[in-house]
Symmetry: C2
Subunit: 442 residues, 2 copies
Amino acid sequence: MDRTNRAAVLNETHDPTARSLVQSANDDAAFPIQNLPFGVFRENLGARSRIGIAIGNCVLDLSAIWRKGLLSDLADLVPAILAPNLHKLMERGQQDTSRIRHRLFKLLRDTNPAPRLVLDCLLPVNEVEMLLPCPIGNFTDFFTSIHHARRTGELARPGNPLFPNFKSLPVAYHGRASSVVVSGTPCIRPRGQLGAPEGQSRYQPSRRVDFELELGCFIHSGNRLGSPISMDAVEEFVFGVCLVNDWSARDIQRWESQPLGPFLAKSFMTSISPWVVTLEALAPFRIPPAQREPDDPPLAKELCADWHNATGGIDISFEVLLSTREMRSRAMEARPITRTAFREQYWSLFQMIVHHTSNGCNLQAGDLIASGTISGADPRESGCLLELTQGGQPSVELPTGEKRGYLEDGDCVTFEAICQRDGFRSIGLGSVTGRVAPRSGE
Amino acid sequence: MDRTNRAAVLNETHDPTARSLVQSANDDAAFPIQNLPFGVFRENLGARSRIGIAIGNCVLDLSAIWRKGLLSDLADLVPAILAPNLHKLMERGQQDTSRIRHRLFKLLRDTNPAPRLVLDCLLPVNEVEMLLPCPIGNFTDFFTSIHHARRTGELARPGNPLFPNFKSLPVAYHGRASSVVVSGTPCIRPRGQLGAPEGQSRYQPSRRVDFELELGCFIHSGNRLGSPISMDAVEEFVFGVCLVNDWSARDIQRWESQPLGPFLAKSFMTSISPWVVTLEALAPFRIPPAQREPDDPPLAKELCADWHNATGGIDISFEVLLSTREMRSRAMEARPITRTAFREQYWSLFQMIVHHTSNGCNLQAGDLIASGTISGADPRESGCLLELTQGGQPSVELPTGEKRGYLEDGDCVTFEAICQRDGFRSIGLGSVTGRVAPRSGE
C-alpha cells in the first residue's frame, strides 16, 4: 500500500451526498453521517458506561448494535466494542477503527433496508451523561502557535518575543493527566502562591484564571520505549482529535514556573470535549502545513516527509464563547470572543508526535497530546485572555456592559469547532464547556 | 487518636531486638524483619506477577502465604493481596498496609511456632524477576535540594543561582509516567536536538547523559479534584518510598527547556528501585526537617504543622556507584562517586504533597512523586554529574585511570540507600541500577 497520504485518502464514508436514516444528522452541523465520532456515555449515575457514536442529536449505542447482531463481521473487536471506555479500541490499530466506521456508515445510511434495528439503538444525546473517552494515560501539552508565542512573548520580553528554539522544534511540557475532565465539569478557582508583589508565601485564590483553546489528539496503539515513531508511520498513531480547554492561572504560573515550567498553574483542571473525531473522518480537511517563514532555520529531516508537505495540516475552525452570570440572568446568549483556526499552527500534530518520541519516549494508547493555545495572526484571533486582553486589561466587552480581563466566578467558557471545505459535508468536533466556580467557603 | 506524629509512632515492628526465622534477614543490611518493603515479582517471563515482601535475601510470596491460610484475619484485603501489582493496596488506606505489616512481622519473627509454613513461601530474590510496583499514574518531579539548586544555578547564572521562588514553595514539574521503568532496564542513549552551537535542527545522540539521585514516594488512596490535602492529613497519603534515577540529557535539556521546562531531556527513561519501604517502617528515622536559613521568607502557614517541626524530615543516606565497561572487564568493583543524605532537603516530602494539591489537583493511588536531585552542602555530596563535574569537566576519576564528565556507553550507575539511627535496626531501600547503552545501529 502506498504510504503517501494513506490516512488522508477519501473513501465512500466521505461521500458528501450520503444521507442518514437518522433525520437530525442530515441537518446537523457537527455530527452528520460523514463524521461518526466515538465517545463514552452512561444513561444515569449508576449505569455502566458504554461506547457510543454521535449521529445528529443522538448517540448510537454500540453495545446495543452488537446485541442486535449487526456487527457480526467484527467479532474479533467485541472486547473493544463492549468495553466501558475507548482504551481497548485505542490499543488496536487504525484499521480496526476504520472497519467499525465503515460498518456503522452502512448501518446508519438511509439506504439501509432494515432501519428499525438501528433506530432502536439510538438515545437522545441530551438524555445521557457523556464521560471521559478513556482513562488518560499521559497528557502532553505543546506550544506550537507562533502567533500565541509571539504575543505572549512580547508581553514578557518586549522586542524579543520568540525563544531561539521555537522554530527548530515543537516545544512542549508534560501536563497533569489525573485532572483531565470531561466537558461540563465546573472549574473550581484554584488557590496558590501568587508571587512576590502579592505576598510571596500566602496561598490565595488566583485572580487571573484564563482559558486556553487547544486541539487534543488521542494516541492509537503506541510505540515501545527506545523506538521512535517516524514521519513515515506517524499517521497510524493518531486515533482522533477533540477540543481541549487548558485552564490556566496566570498569577500562579508567573511565580512558580522558573526554572521547570508550569505546574500548579495548569494542573487544577483541563477540560476536553466528549467526542473523538477520527483521523479518517478528517481526511477531506487535510491541507498543506503552515508555510515556514523565509528566514526560518532548516527543518530537521526527521520532521519532514513528502506526504506531510501535501497533507500535514488539518483545517479546523474554532470559536470561543463566553457567558457571564449576568448575561444568563438576562437570558442573553453566549458571546463569541474569538474565532481562529488550526491551519496556521507552526508545527503539525504529526510533527509533535514524531518529536515527542525522537528521544525514545514511549507513547501509549489513551495518551492525550494537545497543541497548545491556537491563535491566529490577528490579535482578535487569540486563543486565550492573556493575549486577547494584553495581560488582563479589562478589554473584552460583553453585551451587558461587563468587561473582562480574566475570568470571574460564574463565567462559562465554551469552545466549538468545525471543519468545512467546498464539495464536502462539514463535520464538527462538538463543544467543550466549563464554568468557573469559587471553592466552597470562598 | 492524636494526629501528632501518628505515622512516626514506634510500635513492636520497630523493636531492634526482633529477629527473623529467615536467617539471612538477621545479617542483612537492607531487609531485616523491621523493614518488610512491598514489591512485585514473577518467577519467569510467562508467569503471573505477584506481590512479595523482601526479607533478607528472599522474597516472601504473599499469594502463597494466603493459600497457607496464614492471612485469614485479613480476608477483606484479599483482592489487594492477590492482585498482580500494588495498585489495589495503594488505593486502600495506611491502616490496611499496617495490618499486613504487623501480621507478616509476627509470621516472620523467630518466635513463630510454625516456621515451616512460612519458609515454604520464600523464594531466593536472585531467582525471581522484579517488576514495577504498580502502573505509574502520574509522575511528578520536584526540585527541593537547595544545594543542588545553588550549584546548578551557579553554573547557569553565576552570582545569582537561586530563583526567587525557591524558598517560598517547592518547585516541581510533571514528569513522564510511561517511561518509568524498574531497576535493571538498560538506558538507551537518547537522540535529540542539542542546540544552536551543535547544529540546531539535527537530531543526534546526546553527549551529556547524566543521572539524578532522587527519593521517590508512592501515594496512598488519593484526594478528590478540588480538595487539597492539609499538613494535618498528609502522612496518610504516603504509601512508601523508593529510589529514583531521573536520567537526564543535559544538552537536550538546555536547548528545549525555554519556556516550559524539561521535556525530552527526561522522558526517555526514569528508573526506580523495586522495593517500596512503607512510611511505618521509616518511623524510627523521622527527624526535624532541615533548618530554614535566618533570612528566609516566611513559610506559608499551609506548609507548617507542629508535628512537622518535630518529624517532618526522614534521615536516609545515599551512595552513588559507577562502574565502567573497562572496570568490569578488569573485575573491579563499582566505585562510589557520591555519598549524600536526604536530611538537608529544603522541602520535606510532606510539604511537596501539600503544595502539589494546594490548587485542587487530585493525587491518585500509584502516583509517583520524586524529590528532585538530592545533594549535600559539600560539592562531593552532589547527586548528579552536572554538579560533580561542574558542567561536564572530565573530573570524576576511576580506578582504571578513566575520567568522566558525563556518562559513556557501558557505564553502569547504581544508587543505594540506608536508614541508620542509634538504638534501632538499620533498614535499606535496596538499589536501583541501569547501564547506558547506544541505540542499536549507533
